[in-house]
Symmetry: C2
Subunit: 144 residues, 2 copies
């Protein structure tokens, strides 16, 4: 208790998953060698994993299996914002059991395309932060 | 004129910059070797560049000068979304002329921190897309 608010607060895993569940749009970051790529994707959480869909033949599909990925979700108001970042492994679902399980998540497609494949991201690390905007956070009359 | 709407529309550079100007929160993607990093940042455009601030000693500050960067901004409603991606070079401003020019952009800091340094991203490539959500875009009674 210092009577001051930190500008950045570290979120618990529980808070981070709750925020992930509240959102629909995230960003997948991949790379092939030195070439960075970022893709906005419509997603849902299922357990402590992230599910999205993409079409075969897309750049996303060709890079998602290349290596470890990042997945980022954020939101903000004028007063504050939050960001949750997953560092993990992406896996294109191929077995009927995997696909059946993913179907239960009722994920809507991001855009109208055919031949959609499920991708599941399994986290190795989860990191959530809440940010207070402005040059100085407002303080109440009493330290709290 | 095909009578069908594509689910993904490529935006002109002009449209992409207009959308960048309408937003305040973007995401910087960097890497050091195989380690990908993504950072939400509060930004403004100035000319055809992107300006944001960060504190010395942060992970962002240590990675932003490492190589080419990506910068992504998006927004969405229930009906559609857009995403603009810049591939470019980040440069920490050091000369008083550079800093004076950046001051004119009236950028608000993302969080309350000290020793903020300006970073300017100069694009090599700009790519904007508009997405229509849903399994099938709605069509009017007449092809348009």
């Amino acid at each position: 208790m210092t009577g001051e608010r930190d500008a950045i607060t570290v979120l618990s895993d529980h808070e981070s998953w709750d925020l992930l569940k509240s959102a629909a749009l995230g960003r997948l970051v991949t790379h092939i060698g030195d070439q960075l790529e970022i893709f906005p994707v419509n997603f849902v959480t299922q357990g402590h994993t992230v599910l999205f869909r993409t079409a075969e033949g897309t750049k996303l599909f060709s890079t998602v299996m290349s290596d470890k990925v990042l997945f980022e979700v954020d939101d903000h108001t004028v007063a504050e914002g939050w960001s949750v970042i997953i560092r993990g492994t992406a896996h294109v679902l191929s077995s009927s059991d995997e696909i059946h399980e993913a179907d239960r998540a009722q994920l809507l497609p991001w855009v109208a395309t055919e031949k959609l494949r499920y991708v599941r991201i399994t986290p190795d690390e989860l990191s959530g932060r809440r940010f207070v905007f402005g040059p100085e956070p407002e303080r109440g009359p009493y330290p709290s």
